[in-house]
């Protein structure tokens, strides 16, 4: 082979280049990521998972949930809203007259700044509120996109690439009730009619009620999904761990990377 060395060099550069671009550079950028703090509250982010939820992550992995669920919310834009907090003492009537002539919602950054300046020029005080926008945001009742910090405690990170089911990046905030998750895992169509999700019955145990009394853990199933009289469905530890993990999935704290104004601080 006459040009053996050139071929070797070309392959080395091609593979080496992509290795540097896809492995080395991201590791250098994010490999040393640390806890951050949320805006407004100053809480640390992300919150450490409980032991149960950490085990649940492996149940999620073992059952291949990632094949049908993603864990990454996208965001198309931001929308600004100027909110009057006080009309001031100088000329409250001028402020209220001005307010009625201005558009104050659905603005971009420049328009919001201009509106806020106009109001402050006549003595009013304003706050600018930020809302994330986009299809994922409205479809999944999310408040912001996913960012790298959200996955700090994930090993492995299960981003997923197919949405046969909904995105789960914010499921803990979207559906915070454990009992609903348990019932959904046992009989998905009892929660969402025509659900395409398979039943994960093997994470549950069907057993005879003790002295005819249901145990506190037993699922409260609608009649058509219920077991025979005298029997009950109770979650195995795996089901509880999986649900604890689902409840730990949240993307709902405002971060520097993905700021928004939380609903609770809006007057």
């Amino acid at each position: 082979m006459k040009s053996g060395f050139s071929i070797f060099l070309a392959i080395l550069l091609t593979l080496g280049g992509s290795w540097i671009g896809f492995v080395v550079a991201p590791t250098m950028q994010l490999g040393t990521a640390k806890l951050t703090t949320a805006l407004v509250t100053g809480d640390t982010w992300p919150q450490q998972r409980t032991g149960e939820a950490t085990l649940g992550q492996q149940i999620y992995r073992a059952n291949g949930c990632v094949a049908c669920h993603t864990m990454q919310l996208r965001q198309d834009g931001v929308s600004f809203e100027v909110v009057l907090t006080s009309a001031g003492k100088i000329n409250p009537t001028a402020v209220s007259n001005l307010i009625s002539t201005l558009t104050l919602t659905g603005l971009n950054k420049e328009a919001a700044d201009i509106a806020a300046d106009k109001i402050s020029a006549v003595g009013g005080k304003t706050e600018t509120h930020l809302t994330a926008t986009g299809a994922d945001i409205s479809n999944y009742h999310a408040v912001r996109r996913s960012v790298a910090a959200d996955y700090l405690y994930d090993a492995p990170v299960q981003l997923g690439s197919l949405r046969a089911g909904p995105d789960l990046a914010n499921i803990g905030a979207r559906q915070p009730v454990a009992a609903v998750h348990l019932q959904h895992l046992y009989a998905p169509s009892s929660v969402t009619a025509k659900s395409a999700m398979p039943s994960y019955k093997f994470l549950f145990e069907v057993r005879k009620q003790i002295n005819g009394v249901a145990s506190p853990d037993a699922l409260n199933l609608p009649a058509e999904f219920a077991t025979a009289a005298g029997y009950e469905v109770v979650p195995k530890p795996e089901a509880k761990q999986l649900v604890a993990y689902l409840l730990s999935l949240r993307a709902d704290a405002p971060l520097y990377e993905a700021p928004f104004t939380p609903a609770t601080t809006k007057p």
Binding site: A25, L39, T85, A121, E127, L130, P259, F260
Partner: protein, 205 residues
């Protein structure tokens, strides 16, 4: 089979021992032009939308500046930012952008007892009317003149400047409202004479 092979070698015009080789020929100039143009466009796009590989910049933000500008700010933070801008334009040239003052130009504002007053009334007289004659700032004597540097600013802007100097460089005093400025402005009148330190000391803080 052997027949086939011999037929084939006969019909082939090249002697079987020669390997085809590339010859030298010039690369057309337009390829360079197009490549450079594509590179330029690519870089221009990256510069506009790429965020320069900043880990904190995600879509929909295009740069760290844009992300910084989008950070939600409280009303107090907005006033501080406006105050900083005006301070650096109107006062910083003498008192320094770090508030430390400048030798033979202006006394410090950080830690100054004229700034760290309970209320803002006495302080507001200084930029509105001016200050002249001997004063003491943090134990040092000054005897210079400051014109009414803040008289040209609106009530809101000057209030923000004073809020800024009272809350920066280690100073930790309360906000100044535009109403405070309005009141003092009416008091000093249209053509104010610079106040002396002595006269200021007779005023309520």
């Amino acid at each position: 089979m052997n027949d086939d092979m011999s037929d084939e070698s006969k019909s082939c015009s090249l002697p079987s021992s020669t390997e085809p080789t590339a010859t030298r020929s010039t690369v057309p100039m337009w390829i360079f032009v197009v490549t450079l143009l594509l590179l330029f466009l690519g870089f221009a796009f990256f510069d506009k939308k790429g965020g320069w590989f900043d880990v904190r910049v995600y879509a929909p933000y295009n740069s760290s500046e844009e992300l910084e500008a989008a950070q939600p700010k409280s009303a107090a933070a907005v006033a501080m930012a406006a105050g900083k801008k005006n301070y650096e334009t109107y006062c910083g040239s003498c008192h320094g952008n770090d508030g430390a003052g400048k030798i033979a130009q202006a006394p410090p504002l950080s830690g100054s007892e004229w700034v760290m007053t309970k209320g803002a009334e006495r302080l507001a007289h200084i930029p509105l009317a001016g200050l002249g004659g001997p004063i003491k700032v943090e134990g040092k004597d000054w005897n210079m003149n400051m014109a009414a540097m803040g008289a040209g600013l609106s009530d809101t802007d000057l209030a923000a400047v004073l809020t800024y100097i009272r809350g920066s460089w280690g100073n930790k005093m309360g906000e100044v409202s535009p109403d405070d400025i309005k009141k003092v402005r009416a008091e000093v009148g249209k053509a104010p004479q610079p106040y002396t330190g002595e006269k200021l000391m007779t005023m309520p803080e």
